[in-house]
Amino acid sequence: MKSKRSIEDDFSRRMVLAAGAGGVVWAGLVARLFQLQVLEREKYQAAAEENHIRLALAPPQRGRILDRFGKPLASHRRAGRVSIVPEQAKDPAGTLAQIAAQIDLPDDRIEKITREITASRRRNAGFVPVIVANELTYEDFARMNVHAAEIPGIQVEMALTRSYPRGRDLAHVLGYVARASQDDLTRLSTGMVEDEAIRLEKLFRHPDMRTGRQGMERFAEEWLRGKPGFRKLVTNAHGRVIEEIPDEKFAPVAGKDLYVTIDSELQRAAIERFGDESGAAVVLDIETGDVLAMVSTPAFDPNDFVNGISGAAYAELRDNPRSPLYPRAHGGVYPPGSTFKMVVATAALESGAVKPTDRVNCNGYYHFGNRTWHCWKKGGHGSMDMHNGIKHSCDVYFYETARRTGVEKIAATARKFGFGEAWTLGMTGARGGLVPDAEWKQRVMGEPWYEGETLNFGIGQGQLGVTPLQLALMTARIANEGRSFKPKLVGLGPKSDGDGVLDAPLDAEIMQRMKAGMFGVTSEGGGTAYRSGDLGLGGPRLAGKTGTAQVRRITKAERDKGVRKGVDIERELRDHALFVAYAPTDDPKYAISVVVEHGEGGSSTAAPLARDILHFALKNDSRRKAVYGKTASITPAGAGEPT
């Protein structure tokens, strides 16, 4: 038993004990805080720093592509877009359904997005947005904005999208950009060390990155791409961006603008002039070699490819009988027909096999071996010298001339003009065509060259294949009297095969004869394109040469009955109409080649087209000084300096 006093004392003692115990506990807490906040603070401060700063890849803005006067051909457009931030969308299926209630969202697209969301969650905890719909119409964008607050985890924003303001006009020249595929990455990273390749792959995984898939976009990829930077992002615990710390040091470097030599107005006018016809036209500045227009029609709209074209839409383009994907101007190979006759005449004069005054009598046919070759004109042209042979496009004259000159000489001269060479000029899909000779035939067909084939060669038929670009190049070199010359499409940008000069001078005197012949075609009585000679500018005339490329062989029976024309035969069996020309005749500035597929007659369809395009070029002064600076004019062979 304890005394009363001892109970009181015991209580006091126990109070002191309890308070003391509390003091010990308090001291323990303070000691722990001291450890955390004083002794180990650096460790935790570093952890905090690491915690919240994230370097996010900032894609560079792609350089624009501009025409010679600075008009944008490929630039950027602000486009409305909806994306899902997987981290914030707890129920992606529900969110997608809510979006689909506002805008059109096909089921297969929903499936694809759902997969991407899963992947995004795995890769980065889902704070990188997944794009649901790009290119919203104004109405859709407005509607999405109104409903954005009610739909959890979505972002409605304006983003920059590659855009081709000229649409189809320059599809084959510019090409297009697309999300980089595995193939693209493999191609782009060729020759890179592994680190570089990995960085490149990371960059292209960014939803805003595109790579040039075709044309100039592909050729000038590195010029246009720029250098990626980083955005210093402060993120919260969920990876959500709280703020951005601006840092010039890390800013991406925008890609450089690329200038092409094209005059987009001339291009547009030419395409309009083609209307429903399919074909190609190339306009060159004969002084500089600048490609002022390069038409291939019909074409596709590169804008459709930027965000990925649907399988159905692509199939439609691919299977279209008019082949809109086909780059006719630099990749279309046609028999040049009579437009090739200047090359044959030049070869004849260069080799000395024929003199300009040598005459050939044309009865409408030509016997050689046991076969008969026909002139396009039944009944013949009578006695022809070189000038008249060109002017009337007399086939018999050129059978004889070609036979005398021989295949090797003609082929050599053709190559000097630039035939047989694939001029990419920075585009994709360029083809060289074919300049046949005995060696080629032996190698490829295992047969010797028959002299009869030389006759076909003489009128631009047979195995010979050329592109409209090559024809324009030929015409330009005739017009500038043989000065050395390379066509050029890149005005300011990376070096292409169009830079510099062609080391193949042609004889000026011979070229003057060719010009005279071409002048005869359009400006002298009896010329095959007499009606198209006047440019309609009250004076200036053009000089040209018609051509017809056979699509099929004319049978004996047909020839006897009279060759059927026009509506009588299927469109795709009709001949291609060709025309090459330069203008003005007294002071040549522009050279043009026109191919109208299945257009039947060079003089009836191709020549008026060429005339109208040249008319526009002269009126618009398409070759006037380009904005990207002085273009080196052509200099004699060998002295050329790349620009």
Binding site: F11, L29, Y44, H52, A237
Partner: protein, 401 residues
């Protein structure tokens, strides 16, 4: 029961104090209010305002939570008035209310069991009209009052028998069992701990206490198996953390880790108000409630956290001192028990946040956002103040009951 025989009360000093107190009673409530220990009261106000400022810092960036500081301020204002009212209540009334309050709390706890609202893996909320209350919070104070009432009745100058403590144990274990069942391990522990302090102060033999502690430790593995999954996970996390094992960064240990980074990152001086990186960017889950210390730690550094602990130490130390001055067993034990209740809140909360204890889900008194805890804390202070105001009363039970 009469206290007349108490030798301690016969000191001359005590008699004068009694006389003084009595004279003030005549002056009425206002005079009594003036007699409050205002240093203590103002310290509480200062602490609470600090809490509001920290709450603002922690939540202002989140639009959904940007007005929490204001809500908390309002709640504190109301609780403060309540504290003053409670402080003025005669201690005898407190004693009278002890058993009804205790009974009412037990009823509420049973109601929670029957029709409570679940939240966070446990059923501990009771929806009363628009407000959700957590009866387990009130249970701490009610149990303390009940224990004080009980000892006030049974302690005699000659008592010292172990048997009287059995009744106290029963009073404590009924609510403890109900709360444990919710399950709310942290509150159970806090309740048993502060109840234990009362029993200890009431004179339970040290040998028995020692035996109890050993038995408790032995029971730990058993307790582990009756815990709910999420509780076991917390203990696992804690043990893993103690042993240096790395655990799932997105689970419980993530919260602790981020909290430690915030506190440690604050360094000695802290980053300044509203400047905490972790705090401003939502890195620490529950940083406006249980983990508010991380905000203080990050933004005010070691200076801030120790000043805070010092503030609490002064409040609790004074409360303890005041309890020891009380002339009635009810006053002594209720006041010390209330102080112990607040003290265990603090120890559990701080210990948990700085990684010394498992995560038990305990708010930091006066600082953390939350209405029920604020109410309980302020009621505890009200009780302490009332005991202080009436420290010289001997509370003759015969006259009052």
């Amino acid at each position: 029961m009469s206290r007349d025989g108490y030798t301690g009360f016969s000191r001359g000093e005590a008699r004068t104090r009694t006389a003084r107190t009595l004279s003030f009673e005549n002056v009425g409530a206002l005079g009594k209010l003036a007699k409050l220990p205002w240093g203590f009261v103002l310290l509480i106000v200062a602490m609470a305002l600090t809490g509001v400022a920290m709450l603002y810092s922690s939540a202002h960036t989140n639009p959904d939570e940007s007005n929490l500081w204001y809500l908390q301020l309002t709640r504190f204002g109301m609780s403060f008035v309540l504290m003053l009212v409670l402080a003025l209540l005669p201690l005898s009334l407190w004693r009278t209310l002890a058993i009804p309050a205790y009974a009412f709390t037990i009823v509420l706890l049973i109601l929670v069991e029957v029709m409570g609202v679940s939240g966070g893996g446990a059923q501990r909320w009771l929806q009363i009209g628009p407000v959700a209350v957590q009866p387990s919070e009130f249970a701490k104070l009610a149990t303390t009052m009940a224990l004080a009432w009980y000892y006030d009745r049974v302690i005699t100058p000659t008592s010292g028998r172990i048997l009287i403590h059995i009744g106290a144990l029963v009073i404590m274990l009924i609510p403890a069992a109900l709360i444990f069942k919710q399950p709310d391990f942290g509150t159970t522990l806090a309740l048993v701990a502060s109840g234990g302090v009362v029993i200890f102060l009431a004179g339970l033999s040290l040998r028995v206490i020692l035996f109890g502690v050993i038995a408790g430790i032995a029971a730990v593995p058993g307790i582990y198996f009756v815990l709910a999954d999420y509780q076991r996970e917390r203990v696992d996390t804690f043990l893993a953390q103690m042993s240096g094992e790395s655990t799932n960064a997105l689970g419980e240990s993530y919260q602790i880790e981020q909290g430690l980074i915030a506190i440690g990152g604050g360094g000695f001086n802290g980053k300044g108000w509203l400047q905490g990186i972790q705090s401003q960017q939502d890195y620490v889950p529950e940083q406006h409630t249980d983990f508010i210390l991380t905000v203080i730690g990050e933004e005010f550094g070691f200076l801030g956290t120790t000043t805070l602990l010092l503030g609490f130490a002064v409040i609790l130390g004074w409360a303890f001192y005041s309890a020891s001055q009380s002339q009635s067993w009810f006053g002594r034990l209720a006041s010390a028990g209330a102080a112990a209740t607040v003290a265990f809140y603090i120890v559990f909360n701080v210990g948990m946040v700085i990684g010394l204890l498992p995560v038990v889900g305990m708010p930091l008194p006066l600082i953390s956002y939350g209405g029920t805890a604020m109410l309980t804390t302020m009621a505890c202070f009200g009780l302490i103040l009332s005991a202080h105001m009436h420290r010289d009363e001997k509370l003759s039970s015969t006259g009052l009951i």
